[in-house]
C-alpha cells in the first residue's frame, strides 16, 4: 500500500509495526472480553433472555415490523426521487419565477431537522396515522438532498453535451430528458443510493411518533417481563437487521460505481477534493 503518510517500512519499522499490531489486538481482545464479561455479569446470556426468538408469534410480529419499516422506506424513496427530480428541474430552470422558489424550498427542507419536520406533520398538523407523517418527512428532507444531487449531476456534465444537442435542433425539454438526465443519473447513481441508505436509516425516526416499525417493536419486545426484559439481545438483533439492510444497499452502490468506472460511455466527472465524502451524507 502506498500512503501519503508512510514510506514502505524497512526492517526496524516492520518490527515496530508488528509490535503495534500485537498491542492493537490486545486492546481489541480486552475490549471484547470486557463486554462479554459485563454481558455475563448482568445476565444477558441467560437462556430466558434469548428465548423470545423461538416463538412463532414473535417472529411474525418482528417480520411485520420489518415490513412496516420497508413500506415507509419504499414509499419515501419513490416520492423523494420524484420530489428531487421535480425540484432539480425547477432549480435548473431558466425562469427566475420557477428557479428561486424551487431553491428556497430545497434550502428550507434541508435546514429543518427531520425530527422537527415529522413532529410538525404529526403533532402540528395532525395528519393522522404516523405512517403519513414519517413518509412525508422522509420525502421532503431526502427529496431536497436528492434535488441537490441531481442538480450537481447535471451541472457537472461538459457544456458541449447540451450545446451539441441544441445544435442538432433539440428543444430544452429534449436536451434535458434525452441528453443530460440519463448521463447525470448514471454518474450520480452511487450518490443517489447512499442517500437512499440515509432514508432507510431515517425510517427509524418513526419510533419517536410511535409508528409501529422495527425499533418500536424492539422497545415493546424488550419490555416483556416473561422474557426477562431482553432489551439488550433485542437491540443487538435489530441493529444487525438494520446494518444488513444498509450494507446491501451500500454494496449495490459500490457495485454500480465499479461498473460505471469500467464503462467508457460514462463521462469522467470533474473531481472535487474530498468529493466522495460530500456524497456520504450523515
Amino acid at each position: 500500500m502506498s500512503s501519503v503518510l508512510f514510506d514502505v517500512p524497512g526492517p526496524r519499522a516492520r518490527l515496530r509495526h508488528r509490535l503495534y499490531a500485537i498491542l492493537g489486538v490486545a486492546v481489541l481482545v480486552a475490549g471484547i472480553g470486557f463486554v462479554v464479561y459485563r454481558f455475563a455479569e448482568s445476565g444477558q446470556f441467560a437462556g430466558e433472555k434469548w428465548s423470545w426468538i423461538q416463538y412463532e408469534k414473535v417472529q411474525t410480529d418482528l417480520l411485520d415490523a420489518l415490513v412496516n419499516t420497508l413500506k415507509a422506506f419504499a414509499a419515501g424513496a419513490v416520492l423523494a426521487l420524484l420530489f428531487g427530480a421535480i425540484f432539480a428541474a425547477g432549480q435548473l430552470s431558466d425562469h427566475k419565477v420557477i428557479r428561486v422558489p424551487a431553491m428556497v424550498v430545497v434550502e428550507l427542507f434541508r435546514a429543518v431537522p427531520l425530527v422537527v419536520l415529522i413532529f410538525v406533520f404529526h403533532y402540528g398538523l395532525s395528519l393522522g396515522a404516523p405512517f403519513y407523517s414519517v413518509v412525508l418527512g422522509l420525502t421532503l428532507y431526502n427529496g431536497s438532498v436528492l434535488a441537490e444531487v441531481f442538480r450537481a449531476g447535471v451541472l457537472s456534465l461538459p457544456r458541449g453535451q447540451s450545446e451539441a444537442a441544441y445544435a442538432v435542433g433539440m428543444r430544452k425539454t429534449q436536451v434535458m430528458n434525452n441528453v443530460l438526465l440519463p448521463q447525470a443519473v448514471r454518474a450520480m447513481l452511487p450518490a443517489i443510493i447512499s442517500q437512499l441508505v440515509v432514508l432507510l436509516k431515517d425510517t427509524a425516526l418513526g419510533f419517536l411518533i410511535t409508528y409501529d416499525e422495527l425499533l418500536d417493536y424492539a422497545r415493546y419486545l424488550g419490555s416483556i417481563f416473561e422474557f426477562g426484559r431482553p432489551l439488550v439481545p433485542v437491540t443487538i438483533v435489530v441493529a444487525a437487521v438494520y446494518i444488513a439492510m444498509c450494507l446491501l444497499l451500500t454494496w449495490l452502490a459500490t457495485y454500480l460505481e465499479k461498473r460505471n468506472r469500467r464503462n467508457k460511455k460514462v463521462v469522467e466527472l470533474e473531481k472535487k477534493p474530498a468529493e466522495d465524502v460530500v456524497a456520504a451524507a450523515v
Partner: protein, 224 residues
Amino acid sequence: MDVLLDNLDLYGPGFLNTVELFLISAVGSLVLGTVLAMLRVAPVPVMRAMGAAYVTIVRNTPLTLVFFFFAFAFPLLKIVDADTFGGSAASYYFSAALAALILYTAAFVCEVVRAGINTVPVGQAEASRALGLTFGQMLGSVVLPQATRAVVPPMMSTMIALLKNTTIAAGFSVFQAGSISLNLSERGENQLIGLLWVAAFFIVLVIPMTLLQRSLEKRWSIAR
C-alpha cells in the same frame, strides 16, 4: 409571536441545551473521529481493519437505534453507576445523548478526515521526504495544510448534520429544542406555531453555515 414570547422559559433553555449538546458532541466527535482516521491510515493492517470495522458498523446503524441503546439497553449492563452522572435521570439521559451523538458522528468525521488526507498526492509527501523533512515537518508544513483545505467544507456539512441530529434526543427524555413542542402541548399552546419557531431556529443557524460552507468550497477548491 405570542407562543414564542409567552413560553420563553421553555424556548430559552431548550435552545441553550441544543447548543450545549451540539458543542460538546462536536468537540468529542472531532477528537474521536480524528483518532479513528489515524487508525484507518495507519501502516499496521490490524489497526486499519479495526477502524474500518467501526466505521462500517456505525455508519449503517440508524442514529435513533444508537440513542435507543444508550437510553434503554446500556443501563441494564450496569457498566457505570447512575451516580457518576450526577445521580438524576435527566443528567443520565443527557450523557447518553452525548455518547450516542459522539460515537455516531465520529464515524463520519473519520471518513471526512481520511478522504482529506487521501486528496493530497503521494508525490507531495515523497518530495518533502526527498528534501529531507522529518515526518513531523512533512505533516505540519506539507500534507496537513493541503488536507485541511479539502476537509473543511465536508466537515461543515457533517457538523450541520450533527446539529440537526441533536433533535433526536427529544425521543429520549433529553430536553432541548426538539422537545419544546411536547412541553408546549401540556400548556395547551398551539403546537404547530410552537414547532414552526423551532424550525425557524434551525433555519437561522443552518443556512448561514451552509452559505459559508459553499463559499469555502468555491474559494478553496481552486488550490489544485
